[in-house]
């Protein structure tokens, strides 16, 4: 059985990739994908620890996360479509109307 440390390491790598993606990319779609990456790294940890401790809580929580992620994608994509309609771009740097 694969030790749990590998899962934690993989999850950390995925989360870091997600963070870097969010902070460095300008394309809204890619930022979204990076966020999904962070969510799924967290899901991986849930499942891994659930198996390790033989508790179902973690597994059930993953379903919630997936549900929230699905809802978030729906709202987020709608926002992106709306932004694109007004700006003709999904470059996140162009969305700066609230700048002080």
């Amino acid at each position: 059985m694969v030790p749990v440390e590998y899962y934690v390491g993989l999850s950390a790598i995925l989360f870091t990739l997600g963070v870097v993606g969010v902070l460095t990319r300008r394309n809204a779609i890619i930022i979204f994908m990076s966020i999904e990456l962070m969510l799924n790294s967290a899901n991986l940890l849930f499942v891994a620890f659930a198996r390790t401790f033989e508790a179902l809580n973690g597994q059930i929580f993953v379903f919630f996360v997936m549900t929230v992620a699905a809802a978030e994608v729906a709202v987020g994509l709608a926002l992106i479509v709306a932004v694109f309609r007004s700006k003709s771009s999904i470059n996140i740097d162009d969305v700066n109307s609230l700048r002080g």
Partner: protein, 708 residues
């Protein structure tokens, strides 16, 4: 003095407040309706109000007799109640106060009736008929105030009346305030009124100090309680001196004694009924009443009595000498009043309270008579000189020369040099005037003889110098009255006014006749064998009363002096009557320097002018100019207060307000602006920058949580 029963006795005694309120009702009626109703109505209402007060006083007299002279105190109103201190308006009905009530309301009523006739002419001569009602309002007010004075049961209530009559005196002296005493337009009368008020103020200060001291040492102002302290010897000697001397100062003001008498002669500026009522018969005797009322105070130390008696005696002689040198008929009587008040003060000072009060009563009779008579003379001469109204028929000359004879000089109807030979023109006035003169001169069986004689007898027992002074004064009294009668009524008329003099109306003559009868018979109420009046006062005075034994030598002596003085006055003035107005007085040739002094009132008014009034005015000018204007206004107010204030406000406005306060406010604003500008750099508008900061924050928080 025994503590009187203070329970409400009911019956007749409960009527006593009406002695004050009848006159008040009278004055209110005249005040409200007088303008619309005629002179007859006004005079009747005022006389009835005073007459009603007299009726109440008479009822009290009989009730008091039935009560065997026991003093009664009738509580009326609560006035001042502070802690244990209780000063009420209570009426004191005892033989002393009832005597005063009878005099004030009785003579007051007669003078009201007289004034109803007199003022009818006076307002026409002064060309101000609307003032008729004002006169009677003041006169009723005076009666009310005088009643408060004499019926009060404590010193404070007495003081209320004391001030009230002073006010009435002021109002009535200055009744024709826009004229001078000779009738011409000017400020002379208001000046006289002011003088009376100010001189009385000095006296009132003394009386107030006496009241304060009394309260200080006895903790009460109620007569019985105060006198109880004195009789038990609970009052230290210095306090007796202080109270008695301060009270004496008050007496010298109100009763016109040296040194404050100077106001009374000037008070003759008032209409003649006022001179009779206020400045001869009643108000000026308030001081004598005060001393009699305060007998336990003044009798406590013999030396105090000596001071009072000396002041009275010296005043009596001093004023009598001045009376000899006067030409104004009312001025003679005014100085005579001062002199006779001196007799009374001397008497009460000697402890002869009953004699003093007796003289007060008889003097009220004959001096009121003399003043009213002089008013009748003045009016007769004035009506002869300048007929008006119903007199004017057949006299169409002089009409537009009011107050002036054909040469343009002011005609003074009060100047005895303008009179002469009036006994045939105005017989009623003449005969009544003679009764007053004989009473004042002290001829036996006339009232003044008995009262003056009692005083002289007491003086002989008290101190020989005072007896001599008073006898001299009595001699001069007879002399100046003789001089007046020869000048006014005998000889030939010396002016058109005297030539055409007219007898006064009946309203004026009836009071004259009544007063003449009283002047003749008044002495018998204290006939030397019965002492009825004295025993009547004894109920109040207690052991301070002593019956004066009749002394034949004194009586014969004073009668001889009086007759001699009248004979002497006949030699000087009667034998060879004055022929013209301008002629010098015979005494002027006989006693050159002395007569001049008497005529000039011994220059005392001038001395007061130089010694007191001028320095006072200089002091006032100094205070006004240097202290008030230059120090207070220019320096203190302008420099210190105003400039200081400006300086302070400038300091507060510029460095403090603009510098500090605004600096703080602006500094806060600038700091907020600056920090906002610095922080706004963070707001880039790039979500990932914000997310980076969130990330950094999360890392930091987690870091601290993990590595804590």
């Amino acid at each position: 003095m025994l503590l009187s029963e203070t329970t409400n006795p009911g019956g007749v005694f409960s009527l006593v407040p009406w002695i004050v309120f009848f006159p008040v009702i009278g004055l209110l009626i005249n005040l409200l309706f007088g303008k619309r109703l005629g002179e007859k109505f006004i005079g009747t209402v005022a006389s009835l109000a005073s007459g009603a007060a007299f009726a109440v006083s008479a009822a009290l007299f009989f009730a008091l007799q039935a009560n065997h002279g026991h003093p009664v105190v009738v509580p009326f109103l609560e006035w001042i109640h502070i802690g244990d201190l209780a000063i009420d308006w209570a009426f004191r009905v005892d033989t002393l106060s009832v005597t005063m009530m009878l005099v004030v309301s009785g003579i007051g009523t007669l003078i009201h009736i007289y004034a109803a006739g007199y003022m009818h002419y006076d307002v026409q001569y002064k060309e101000d008929p609307a003032s008729y009602v004002r006169f009677f309002i003041y006169l009723n007010l005076f009666i009310a105030m005088m009643m408060i004075l004499i019926s009060g049961d404590n010193y404070l209530m007495l003081f209320v009346g004391w001030e009230g009559v002073g006010l009435c005196s002021f109002l009535l002296i200055g009744f024709w305030f826009n004229r001078s005493p000779d009738g011409t337009p000017g400020t002379g009368n208001s000046y006289a009124a002011k003088k009376a008020f100010i001189a009385n103020r000095v006296g009132d200060f003394g009386f107030l100090m006496a009241i304060f001291t009394t309260f200080w040492v006895t903790h009460s102002l109620q007569f019985d309680e105060v006198f109880h302290h004195f009789e038990e010897g609970l009052v230290p000697e210095w306090a007796i001196w202080a109270i008695a001397l301060f009270m004496l100062l008050g007496v010298t003001g109100k009763s016109a004694q040296i040194p404050l008498y100077v106001w009374l002669p000037d008070a003759m500026a008032g209409p003649t009924p006022v001179s009779a009522l206020i400045h001869a018969a009643t108000m000026v005797t308030a001081g004598v009443y005060l001393i009699t009322r305060s007998a336990p105070v003044f009798s406590a130390i013999p030396e105090v009595q000596g001071v009072v008696a000396t002041i009275g005696a010296v005043t009596a002689l001093f004023a009598a000498t001045i009376a000899v040198g006067q030409f104004d008929i009312k001025k003679v009587l005014a100085y005579s009043t001062v002199s006779q008040l001196g007799f009374m003060v001397a008497a009460v000072g000697m402890g002869a309270y009953a004699a003093g009060m007796f003289h007060l009563v008889t003097h009220a009779f004959f001096k009121a008579l003399l003043f009213l008579g002089s008013g009748s003379v003045i009016l007769a001469v004035e009506r002869g000189h300048h007929p008006i109204g119903e007199d004017a028929h057949g006299h169409d000359h002089h009409d537009d020369h009011h107050g002036h004879d054909d040469h343009g000089h002011a005609f003074d109807p009060q100047d005895m040099r303008n009179m002469g030979g009036l006994r045939h023109k105005i017989p009623w006035t003449f005969w009544t005037y003679m009764m007053g003169t004989l009473a004042l001169a002290g001829i036996p069986i006339w009232a003044g003889f008995f009262s003056k004689d009692e005083i002289l007898t007491d003086a002989l027992h008290f101190s020989l110098p005072i007896y001599i002074i008073l006898t001299l004064a009595a001699f001069l009294t007879a002399f100046y009255m003789g001089r007046q009668v020869w000048l006014v009524f005998f000889g030939e008329p010396r002016s058109h006014g005297a030539e055409a003099a007219k007898e006064s109306p009946r309203a004026m003559l009836i009071p004259l006749v009544v007063l003449a009868a009283l002047s003749v018979l008044g002495g018998f109420m204290n006939f030397p064998t019965t002492h009825q009046f004295g025993h009547w006062l004894e109920y109040t005075l207690g052991h301070f009363y002593h019956a004066t034994q009749f002394n034949a030598n004194v009586a014969l002596g004073s009668t001889a002096f009086a007759l001699a003085a009248i004979y002497l006055s006949w030699l000087v003035y009667g034998q060879k009557p004055r022929q013209t107005v301008k002629e010098a007085d015979p005494l002027e040739k006989a006693l050159p320097g002395i007569f001049e002094g008497m005529q000039a009132k011994w220059w005392l008014d001038d001395i007061y002018e130089e010694a007191i009034i001028k320095p006072y005015q200089r002091l006032a000018a100094f205070l006004a100019d240097v202290v008030d204007w230059r120090f207070w206004h220019d320096w203190f107010h302008e420099r210190v207060l105003r400039d200081g204030f400006f300086g302070l406000t400038r300091f507060l406005a510029n460095p403090v307000d603009l510098g500090v306060i605004d600096g703080i406010a602006n500094g806060l604003a600038r700091a907020a602006q600056g920090s906002a500008a610095a922080l706004s750099i963070l707001q880039t508008g790039f979500v990932r920058n914000y997310a980076l900061w969130v990330f950094v924050g999360v890392v930091l928080i987690l870091g601290t949580l993990i590595f804590r």
